[in-house]
């Protein structure tokens, strides 16, 4: 993973520059003669992704221009095939969702942004902090590492079930808070505390992955740099600021990008923590869209797909800006 995404796009473009002069067909032909085996090696991925992601996506985008629900999309009951009967409505779905009377989208949208930003910020800093600690000579490092990775290694539907017990009104967390003389919030029913609980649990789930990846990045920073910095009299904080952070940039820039994408689309945590019935305000766009789909009858497929497509567009725009920003930073450095 951790290959910096921006460098990726820049390299091939440069290498293909001289070949641009020949016609596109000839270029493809020549590339094929030369690299047919490379294409053969990529073929399985391309076929799988094309059929199982590309085609559904096209279909999904198509549905956003219709009024498809579970009643009028073609389906099969036993031997009876019911054909599609939905009709085209143009941009109506988008208009309804973005400025419709029930106005559900924007609250969910802002909450999704807060959720993504705070989750990624907390997860990355905690992961980095723990990685720095684990990168030292510590007795029992393997022991700590195994324990710290547990939230990643155990499936989320088990751990989140456990969090539900811990955070319930009479659960262990509130017992602890009570013993400390603090308040005992209703983690799973009060809208504000629901959000805090959701962020907390997602951070708990996400830190191990960040930590392990950051640890990998830390170990690729040459020790000589630290020695040189120390010879020049850099304090530990300066070493961290000017050696560790720049050295981590190839790893961290990709990790942050992936973190944002994964958190934005984080389905399991919120779905499993709050179930499919309660906690309306805590739903992020992805679970909101899932709810439009499964939470009502008839299932509003067009609405769900529209929210999904909006999520996708937000992420694409974000990725594009992020990559440009990273590229400019790299350019400024070089």
């Amino acid at each position: 993973m951790t290959v910096a995404a921006p460098a990726e796009a820049a390299t091939p473009r440069r290498s293909e520059e001289p070949r641009r002069r020949t016609g596109p067909l000839r270029r493809i032909r020549r590339s094929y003669d030369q690299f047919w085996y490379a294409w053969a090696m990529c073929a399985p991925v391309v076929v799988i992704l094309g059929v199982l992601v590309g085609y559904p996506l096209v279909l999904g985008i198509m549905y956003t221009f219709t009024d498809a629900t579970s009643l009028n999309v073609g389906h099969t009951i036993g031997v009876n095939k019911i054909p599609d009967t939905f009709s085209w409505v143009g941009l109506k779905q988008y208009v309804d969702i973005l400025s419709g009377p029930d106005n559900q989208f924007w609250p969910h949208f802002w909450w999704t942004i807060i959720w993504t930003v705070s989750c990624v910020a907390i997860t990355v800093s905690l992961g980095l902090g723990l990685a720095v600690l684990l990168n030292r000579q510590v007795r029992g490092r393997t022991f700590y590492r195994v324990l710290l990775v547990l939230p990643w290694a155990v499936p989320t539907f088990v751990t989140i079930f456990s969090w539900r017990l811990l955070l319930s009104d009479g659960g262990a967390v509130n017992h602890l808070l009570g013993a400390l003389g603090l308040g005992q919030p209703e983690w799973l029913s009060n809208p504000l505390w629901q959000k805090i609980a959701a962020i907390g649990v997602n951070v708990w789930v996400g830190v191990p992955f960040m930590m392990i990846s950051m640890l990998g990045g830390l170990q690729s920073i040459p020790a000589e740099l630290y020695e040189a910095a120390e010879m020049d009299g850099a304090t530990p904080w300066q070493r961290f600021r000017h050696v560790t952070l720049p050295g981590l940039r190839p790893v961290s820039s990709t990790l942050i990008l992936l973190g944002v994408i994964w958190t934005f689309n984080q389905f399991n945590v919120i779905f499993l923590l709050f179930g499919s019935t309660n906690g309306d305000s805590v739903q992020i766009l992805v679970t909101y869209s899932y709810r439009l789909f499964f939470g009502q009858n008839p299932m509003d497929y067009a609405g769900a797909a529209t929210v999904g497509v909006l999520c996708l567009s937000i992420l694409i725009v974000f990725t594009e800006f992020y990559r440009r920003w990273i590229r400019r930073m790299q350019g400024a450095q070089a």
Partner: protein, 295 residues
């Protein structure tokens, strides 16, 4: 990971009264207490499930202090002997291992091609991988259902394995591409000179060298498939095909909530995942490192 140079370890610099990277006792205590607290927070919810699973009564989870007085293994007995646990376990294993094998192979070959060969469309392929991580489940689920139904793959293991591959392969290909980048190209060239085909080089030289990277990819793929809920509950119809994640939901339905059985099953599910993790954890850091070193 032990072969990599330790940041704070240095033997030759003895300028200060305390050698480089030697901590004072206070710093050591601080370091260990921070790590211990973090480890406790990380492990506690997992341990809690194990503890709750020992309480035999249906409502014991609400009164955890009762459990310590009369711990019993009756939940495990019920789960193992009176439910379809072994069917679910078998299904989960088939699906997770199948996804791991197919996913890692497919991801490795694509990652290798992208890492080594400057063919046309290589950059856009990597970008597409990133793009596929952005799709919300809800856009894909109905069209996927249709495709699987049309190809008769609905409610089958291969169907679910293919669907899981779409979520795991892009990331793994990216990871492995980073890893292959760190293997010197000279090895490929030597293989080619000795008469191996491009596929032969890949299969016989590069894959064995990339074992740590493959271990990480395998771990990631396995976990993705092992813990997935949404697709599994929608694409598996017959009870004898249920995976653990789907089967588990039967304990907590609208009509009853047998949290004690759920806890016991949770522990039984966590054990294989944790064991698998323990096997690959030595490689985990080195494998993830590799991607980062070549930006």
């Amino acid at each position: 990971m032990s072969q990599t140079p330790q940041v704070d370890k240095g033997s030759q610099a003895a300028k200060k009264s305390r050698g480089r990277g030697k901590r004072g006792p206070l710093a050591s205590v601080g370091l260990h207490s921070v790590l211990a607290i973090a480890a406790f927070i990380a492990a506690f919810p997992v341990a809690w499930v194990a503890y709750v699973s020992l309480g035999p009564g249906e409502y014991d989870y609400q009164h955890p202090q009762r459990i310590a007085a009369h711990p019993s293994l009756s939940n495990y007995d019920h789960v193992l002997n009176h439910t379809d646990f072994f069917t679910w376990l078998g299904n989960s294993t088939i699906v997770a291992l199948g996804t791991t094998v197919v996913g890692v192979l497919v991801a490795a070959s694509a990652g290798y091609a992208v890492s080594r060969i400057r063919f046309l469309g290589r950059g856009s392929l990597m970008y597409t991988f990133l793009l596929t991580q952005m799709f919300p489940v809800s856009v894909l689920i109905v069209p996927l259902y249709k495709i699987l139904a049309n190809t008769k793959l609905l409610d089958t293991y291969p169907g679910l394995i293919l669907v899981y591959c779409t979520t795991a392969v892009p990331y793994c290909a990216w990871l492995l591409k980073g890893y292959f980048d760190t293997i010197p190209v000279e090895i490929d060239e030597a293989g080619r000179i000795d008469g191996l085909s491009p596929f032969g080089t890949f299969w016989r030289l590069i894959l064995p060298l990339a074992r740590p990277g493959l271990a990480v990819a395998a771990f990631y793929t396995f976990l993705t498939a092992w813990g997935e809920v949404a697709f599994a509950s929608y694409f598996l119809l017959s009870p004898d095909k249920f995976t653990l994640a789907v089967g588990l939901q039967q304990f907590v339905s609208q009509y009853n909530s047998q949290w004690n059985y759920l806890a016991a099953t949770g522990v039984l599910i966590a054990i294989p995942a944790a064991a698998f993790f323990y096997l690959v954890q030595k490689h985990l850091v080195t494998g993830l490192t590799a991607g980062g070193t070549k930006g």
